[in-house]
Amino acid sequence: MTKRYVLVHDENKCIGCQACNVACRSENNVPESVTRLQVRIEGPYGNFPNLHFKYNRVSCEQCENAPCVKVCPTGAAYVNDDGIVSINENKCVGCLYCVAACPYKVRFINPETRAPDKCDFCKDSRLARGEQPACVTVCPTQALTFGDANDLNSEVRKVLDTKPSYQQKVNLGTEPRVYRIPSRRGGIKA
């Protein structure tokens, strides 16, 4: 059975500490000027005394219908057998079409390879060794759950089947594989 790796970010558990951000940089040797993953602290939302911040994980959404893959003229951007949106640097000419096409703006040019770069769920390192991605392992509040959604007994499957979740920009039809458990705290716009 094919893999369908998904990631769940629980915005109630996240504290915005950026441990994931740092772990990702370290694991994947991401150059200092760029980043594959950041958790933006947005807000405050709500009204006094019910104020809260939102933790917005920004990284590749691993779209099941990926715009970057569709627009790439050479096929350098492709979906791997495991469903992970991948980059063949040897085929890439650096036209930036994929960077422009990504609705989440999570692709960037790696200054060392001159090719696009982004989160790949640590597929060549940790995932290949049967470990979880660096961000998932390092998270101190266990806000991240990762796994194969096609595996009926997987943790992600249980989480997504029992908790409400949302994905970003679903109206564009990209079918992102990063799911988010929304904050329980409310707040009408002032």
């Binding site: 760029v34 627009v71 050479t74 000419v93 036209c95 960077v99 096409a101 920009k169």
Partner: protein, 315 residues
């Protein structure tokens, strides 16, 4: 970098810059110039008039190959890996509009050079007599070559629009109007480019066939204006993100570029000047040069506006 999550620099939604805008302009100029020249040739032919040595056609034989070559050079130099650009000629992903463009240009560019070589056959043979055989074959196929260039030029003009409209998260770009807008503005740039070069270098008599080229300028300008109206009215009815993008024409530097460059230089100056200018001016060199330069600048402004304002508003 004041955020604890790091620099936001790489998240700038404006990914493609002025080099792409100039390329889109150059491709449109080349395609438009070919469409106008070949259209004029057919127009004359149907009426039994001579088509050899027309200044506008000579001008197109210069404008089209030069602009597409400069445009391609810019495009290749803008790649992050310019020395590996050959991969784009070897690998084709047919869901990508850019791949369609590569395929069209791969045939279009050599044919435009063939067109130019046939127009300047004498001069070419003087410097490269070894081309005589090939040119003879091309001359026999001239009619088919013209038809093929005409179709490919429509393709090149329209694909630059589809290239941008495939970017689904930018409301201004992600519309079906864009290819039509690019094709009509390519026609205005092409006819103005042809008139400019013809007036500067090839025109002996005052009118020649510049008149006929002038005649298509009204409908083209009307179509361009119509496309712009449709684009922005359409945005107004396409949800909050698209409505937000309407401020592209009311706020900021790109609004000025739009009203002064696209509308003013590109549409109002050419149309008003041909309505109000005294008859004695109309075929003077100065007038033709001023008006065609104004049109060309207007189309250049349009490409910049679409590239920058288009990418500045993300849904």
């Amino acid at each position: 970098m004041n955020n604890i999550w790091g620099s936001m620099e790489q998240y700038d939604p404006v990914v493609w810059n002025w080099i792409i805008a100039v390329y889109l302009f150059m491709a449109g100029l080349s395609a438009g110039s070919m469409l106008v020249a070949i259209g004029l040739k057919w127009y004359k032919k149907n009426r039994g008039l001579p088509t050899e040595g027309l200044p506008v056609i000579k001008a197109a034989a210069i404008v089209a190959p030069v602009s597409i070559s400069l445009g391609m050079a810019l495009l290749v130099l803008d790649l992050t890996k310019p020395f590996e650009f050959y991969h784009i000629l070897l690998n084709y992903n047919l869901t990508s509009v850019m791949a369609w463009g590569v395929l069209a240009l791969l045939v279009y560019i050599p044919l435009v050079f063939v067109f130019a070589a046939l127009v300047f056959e004498k001069q070419v043979l003087k410097y490269a007599p070894w081309l005589a055989g090939i040119l003879k074959v091309c001359r026999l196929l001239e009619n088919s070559i013209h038809k093929l260039i005409f179709v490919l030029a429509i393709g090149v003009g329209a694909y630059t629009g589809f290239l941008l409209s495939a970017l689904i998260s930018y409301p201004i770009l992600n519309t079906a109007i864009l290819p039509a807008l690019f094709l009509t503005s390519a026609l205005s740039a092409g006819s103005a480019g042809n008139v400019l070069v013809a007036t500067l270098f090839f025109s002996k008599e005052k009118s020649d066939c510049i008149d006929q080229v002038h005649r298509i300028e009204y409908p083209v300008a009307f179509n361009e204006a119509l496309c712009l109206v449709l684009l922005f009215v359409g945005l107004n009815f396409s949800g909050p993100a698209a409505q937000g993008a309407l401020s592209a024409i009311t706020q900021g530097v790109w609004a000025s570029v739009f009203w002064i460059g696209v509308v003013g230089l590109g549409l109002l100056v050419p149309v008003l000047s041909s309505i109000f200018a005294p008859k004695s001016w109309r075929h003077t060199k100065g007038f033709l040069i001023t008006v065609s330069c104004s049109t060309i600048l207007g189309v250049l402004a349009l490409r910049h506006f679409v590239v920058y304002a288009g990418q500045s508003y993300i849904s």
